[in-house]
């Protein structure tokens, strides 16, 4: 069993077999093999307690269905089920997605990282700058003159009409 400690000092106990879906944790476990119990504590300083909870939920779901098996012989039905589960899992607010991306990045969990990035990309898809700004709180601080200034004079119409 290893222990994760979040930035707000909550402890989470996770089985090694489950937690080693994080490549970072896998390395730490390898490094500290055979050492005292106290060394099996991993501080995750950049994330609050809500995130380890979600990460562990994600790990457990994927622990039941390892990626290698998923690719080679998972039946269509099972794959669909996992997809549905993931869609629900990532259906959350932008701040949580942001934290999941940071956690997945520092803990090195590729599938979680990809899934969260894809979900954020959905928010940017087919929306105007104003709509995106409302959801993501990205503030558009351009003045009209600035916007015009930065447009390359060659093929100006491309940037002004097609990508606005």
């Amino acid at each position: 069993m290893i222990t994760l400690i979040s930035s707000d000092k909550r402890k989470f106990h996770v089985l090694e077999e489950v937690a080693n879906q994080s490549l970072t944790i896998r390395d730490v476990i390898e490094d500290r093999r055979g050492r005292r119990r106290a060394d099996r504590i991993i501080l995750v300083t950049n994330i609050n307690s809500k995130i380890p909870e979600k990460v562990i939920v994600y790990w457990l779901r994927h622990f039941l269905m390892p990626e290698e098996i998923a690719h080679a012989s998972m039946s269509h039905k099972k794959a669909e089920k996992l997809k549905k589960w993931e869609a629900k899992f990532f259906d959350t607010d932008i701040d949580t997605l942001n934290d999941l991306i940071l956690a997945a990045d520092s803990l090195d969990i590729p599938s979680l990282f990809d899934g969260a990035c894809e979900k954020v990309s959905d928010i940017l898809k087919n929306r105007s700058a104003e709509e995106v700004g409302e959801i993501s709180k990205i503030e558009n601080e351009f003045t009209h003159e600035e916007e015009e200034e930065e447009i390359p004079s060659e093929n100006a119409w491309v940037w002004r009409n097609e990508f606005a």
């Binding site: 701040d95 990309s121 993501s136 940037w159 097609e162």
Partner: protein, 264 residues
């Protein structure tokens, strides 16, 4: 935390990753979000252009209007390529329907786009072209792009003959999809020899002038809606999945496979 824009604080490498799930049009549009986002799109290692994103085919319009739309599309792609800030293309997709302009033989824009992309070692390449007048050739360079792992080619054009690249050398290609091609024996032989890592092959609505498909390590073969012109013998010892729908199915002899498909 509430009320703050935290997405924009993410590292560039994460933002480009997020944008890599979008089409190039959607990715470039994020340049209008804020100053932080101005140039993020230019480092995205994905190029994904679909003519349907830029103009609609449903509006009946004159040929000259269609020509204008098409020239605009070409100009947009050229402008985007020229403004990129990375020398990396991981995935390139071009879907170009309703191509009305008849380019001179070597003047097709693909002749500059494909080398630009191949130079940047793509893993995935997908071309869907629908020329109305032109006899269009897929540049030979496409078949020697050694970094490729997945390739999807479809050219909807009744004039297109069998591709005859002088050489096929795709050592890492695992997945290949060919749509609406004439597949000659010569082309098929070159393909199977030139793609030693091929695991999945799908032929869609192709005209098959071949009498056999034999290959070392193919795991999945899909022949979908094809027109075989003669009996085809399939002998692929490693095959795990086979799906065949042909327009005259009695021409396909399957005795070699049956024993293999039993393992599924």
């Amino acid at each position: 935390m509430a009320g703050a824009d935290r997405i924009s604080e993410l590292h560039d490498s994460i933002l480009t990753r997020i944008l890599s799930y979008l089409t190039t049009k959607e990715a470039v549009r994020t340049r209008c979000l804020s100053k932080r986002w101005r140039n993020v799109w230019a480092s995205v290692p994905v190029l994904d252009f679909d003519s349907a994103d830029f103009w609609s085919y449903h509006i009946p319009s004159s040929t000259s209007e269609q020509l204008k739309c098409q020239d605009k599309f070409v100009e947009i792609i050229d402008a985007v390529l020229a403004s990129r800030q990375v020398q990396q293309v991981d995935r390139f997709r071009l879907a170009w329907k309703y191509q009305v302009r008849n380019y001179p033989r070597h003047g097709h824009p693909l002749r500059r786009w494909i080398p630009y992309v191949v130079q940047q070692l793509p893993r995935v390449l997908s071309l869907y072209l629908e020329p109305l007048y032109d006899r269009l050739e897929i540049p030979d360079l496409t078949f020697t792009c050694s970094s490729l792992e997945e390739m999807k080619l479809q050219v909807d054009c009744s004039w297109l003959g069998s591709p005859h690249p002088p050489l096929v050398a795709l050592p890492h290609l695992r997945k290949l999809y060919l749509g609406r091609f004439y597949i000659s024996t010569d082309f098929m032989d070159k393909l199977l020899l030139g793609c030693p890592s091929l695991e999945e092959l799908e032929l869609h609505a192709c005209c098959l002038f071949i009498s056999q498909i034999s290959c070392g390590n193919l795991k999945s073969l899909v022949i979908n809606g094809c027109y075989p012109t003669t009996e085809i013998e399939v002998s692929i010892p490693s095959l795990q999945y086979l799906k065949v729908t042909v327009m005259s199915s009695d021409l396909l002899r399957k005795q070699d496979i049956f024993s293999k498909t039993c393992h599924l």
